[in-house]
């Protein structure tokens, strides 16, 4: 009897999480006028999707999001990797450095938005994708560093010592031994960084312009003075979620591998 209650509870929790996206999926495939009808599938249409791409330049925003998310990850990862390794192996900066890195994550984003805007403006990068890439890279750097630091701490230093006695320098040991082994962890961190950038709204709102907006901003803009076009918003949401789902499946596989990693007895 208790098991039944447990299962029921779990079912309800699952429903609470899954039903909204499912509803968005359903609403995206249903004509705008029937969005709120109680029938699940009154009639199916791809009009919402088509309209997004044709009338709302969704392809541009999709591309912008991809460029910004990928670009910020590519920019941040080398720094995060090197810093994480330095923290893990050489205890660079001691506890103070680590704390500072962690502390920057505790700042409310709102406090950083206007200074970021001012800085980008000064550099002539306001409303640009480049500016957004740089800002996202900076925002994600502490988080990525922290994850990678934890990951590197989990790799036994024995391997690098063996490599150094074998004939590499400290850098050689890092490049030839640690990095190849860390690829799963690096991939997981990169995907996490991608997801964070992809979903980010506040900085995108303030720092991007009409042609450089990202998906979250574009979706918010669908709220017009005529009301919310829920069908198109749902379509946009579905499109926005797809890369995240792919990314999450990827991360999950590597996260497990990364967590149970143990090459040395």
């Amino acid at each position: 009897m208790r098991k039944f209650g447990l299962h029921l509870g779990l079912l309800i929790a699952c429903a609470l999480i899954i039903l909204p996206p499912l509803w968005a999926l359903r609403t995206s495939l249903v004509p705008e006028s029937m969005s709120y009808s109680t029938d699940w599938f009154p009639s199916l249409t791809l009009d919402n999707y088509r309209s997004l791409f044709e009338r709302n330049h969704f392809l541009t925003y999709y591309a912008n999001s991809l460029i910004v998310a990928c670009g910020s990850v590519l920019l941040a990862m080398p720094f995060a990797t090197a810093t994480g390794y330095a923290f893990a192996r050489f205890r660079t900066g001691g506890r103070l450095a680590r704390f500072v890195v962690l502390a920057t994550q505790m700042l409310p984003p709102v406090a950083l938005v206007l200074p970021a805007f001012a800085l980008l403006r000064g550099a002539g990068l306001s409303n640009s994708l480049t500016g957004l890439v740089i800002v996202y890279a900076a925002l994600n750097l502490p988080f990525l560093t922290w994850i990678l630091m934890g990951f590197f701490e989990g790799i036994p230093a024995d391997l690098e010592w063996a490599a150094m006695t074998d004939g590499t320098s400290a850098w050689g040991a890092f490049w030839r031994i640690v990095l190849p082994i860390s690829l799963p962890g690096l991939a997981a961190a990169a995907v996490l960084g991608f997801i964070l950038s992809w979903n980010e709204f506040l900085f995108a709102l303030v720092l991007s312009g009409p042609s450089t907006a990202t998906i979250p901003v574009a979706l918010a803009a669908l709220q017009t003075s005529n009301g919310i076009q829920i069908g198109k918003v749902s379509a946009g949401v579905v499109l926005a979620i797809v890369p995240l789902m792919i990314g999450s499946i990827f991360v999950q596989r590597f996260f497990v591998k990364g967590l149970t990693f143990g090459s040395v007895k």
Partner: protein, 370 residues
């Protein structure tokens, strides 16, 4: 020439805290030296300083006569075998073994030849394409050895390489390592906490404790002539019995040990000159468990009455723990002697190999070796 000289080498990690202090040791070229000691005694740190993985706080390290204090590990031409083997998990056995040679710019035909030779020597021929994850513990250990051998270093440094193996495999590998040393003739420094490895494998053992080198010498010499109670107890299973006693001189000049009011042991005559001057003073008596017997095969052996508190039957022999008076004593006895708990038995002590130690310092009271 690959002699290794440690000239008052120390490793400091805080203001006044040393993990290794003033280690003075000369290892000859081709010698097989064992560093033995309990966990945390500094033996691994010393090894790592020789390898260059740990910096030297003070003192000088010379390999082949050249000062190596500041030389990076890869330029020291030594090979290390780690306790965890530290095999590169993303490379095959062949690539693991080839790595060192590749780093030194050897060409692929030379690499192939050397790796295959080493693989054959260690029985790894069929495993060359496997990755470390697909190997057993013993196989991984041999790959770690192979990786070291292939480089033809001037010295091998082994950091508890056998600790992770089961008892049988360990016994096999002990022999194999000894054979390897004889065949290669290179200097080997082996760190372990296992005294069987220490006794059987080394030309010389160096006992370390709390960062200091306590005693070094040939295994049997150190066994027969421990420098202090620590060495005496460490190099034996069960540990040497250490009993407080008073050295008393009787009217006819004989020396005896008063262990408790009714418990005495007579000091053999040959030791009288060495112990004369300590007459009347308290001493610590060291009696090895293997010097106590269940039957008096030699009339000079002295009887003691022991109440059995436990008997560990190991198959080939038995370890008896009991009470002599109020003191606990352990004895290594034949496998057919099986008293029960609570029995009072007469055991016989061979007092010739007995050692006396100063109670305050634990240092041995010197006497000529037997």
């Amino acid at each position: 020439m690959a002699s290794i000289e440690l000239d008052r080498v120390s490793k400091r990690y805080l203001e006044n805290a040393y993990s290794v202090q003033d280690v003075d040791l000369k290892i000859e070229d081709g010698e097989f030296v064992i560093f033995l000691g309990p966990s945390g005694c500094g033996k691994s740190t010393t090894l790592r300083m020789i390898a260059g993985l740990e910096s030297i706080s003070s003192g000088e390290l010379r390999i082949g006569g050249h000062n190596m204090n500041k030389v990076s590990p890869r330029d020291r031409n030594i090979a290390v075998v780690f306790q965890s083997y530290a095999l590169y998990p993303h490379m095959s056995v062949f690539q693991n073994m080839a790595f060192g040679l590749k780093m030194r710019g050897a060409d692929s035909s030379e690499i192939k030849r050397k790796v295959n030779d080493a693989a054959e020597l260690l029985g790894l021929g069929s495993l060359l394409s496997r990755k470390p994850g697909a190997l057993s513990g013993g196989q991984r250990q041999r790959v770690a050895l192979g990786r070291a051998i292939v480089r033809e270093p001037q010295a091998f440094l082994l950091d508890e390489p056998l600790s992770n193996l089961d008892a049988q495999l360990r016994a096999e590998m002990r022999l194999e390592l000894t054979r390897l040393h004889r065949r290669l003739g290179r200097t080997m420094v082996h760190v372990t906490h296992d005294q069987i490895e220490a006794m059987t494998m080394g030309d010389r053992i160096c006992i370390m404790r709390e960062g200091r080198l306590v005693q070094s010498g040939k295994p049997l010499d150190v066994y027969a002539n421990p420098a202090d109670t620590f060495v005496a107890r460490f190099l034996a299973t069960p540990p040497m019995n250490l009993l407080p006693a008073r050295l008393s001189k009787s009217f006819d000049g004989a020396l005896s040990l008063e262990v408790e009011s009714h418990l005495r042991l007579t000091i053999p005559i040959r030791h009288l000159p060495a112990y004369q001057h300590e007459a009347g003073k308290p001493v610590t008596v060291g009696i090895r468990a293997e010097d106590i017997y269940e039957s008096q095969l030699d009339p000079r052996w002295q009887p003691i009455e022991v109440e059995v508190t436990s008997l560990e039957a190991l198959g080939a022999e038995n370890i008896l723990t009991g009470r002599w008076g109020s003191l606990e004593i352990a004895a290594r006895l034949g496998r057919r002697f099986l008293p029960r708990r609570g029995d009072r038995v007469t055991l016989y002590v061979d007092a010739e190999p007995v050692h006396l130690f100063y109670p305050e310092t634990g240092k041995v009271i010197p006497r000529p070796p037997l």
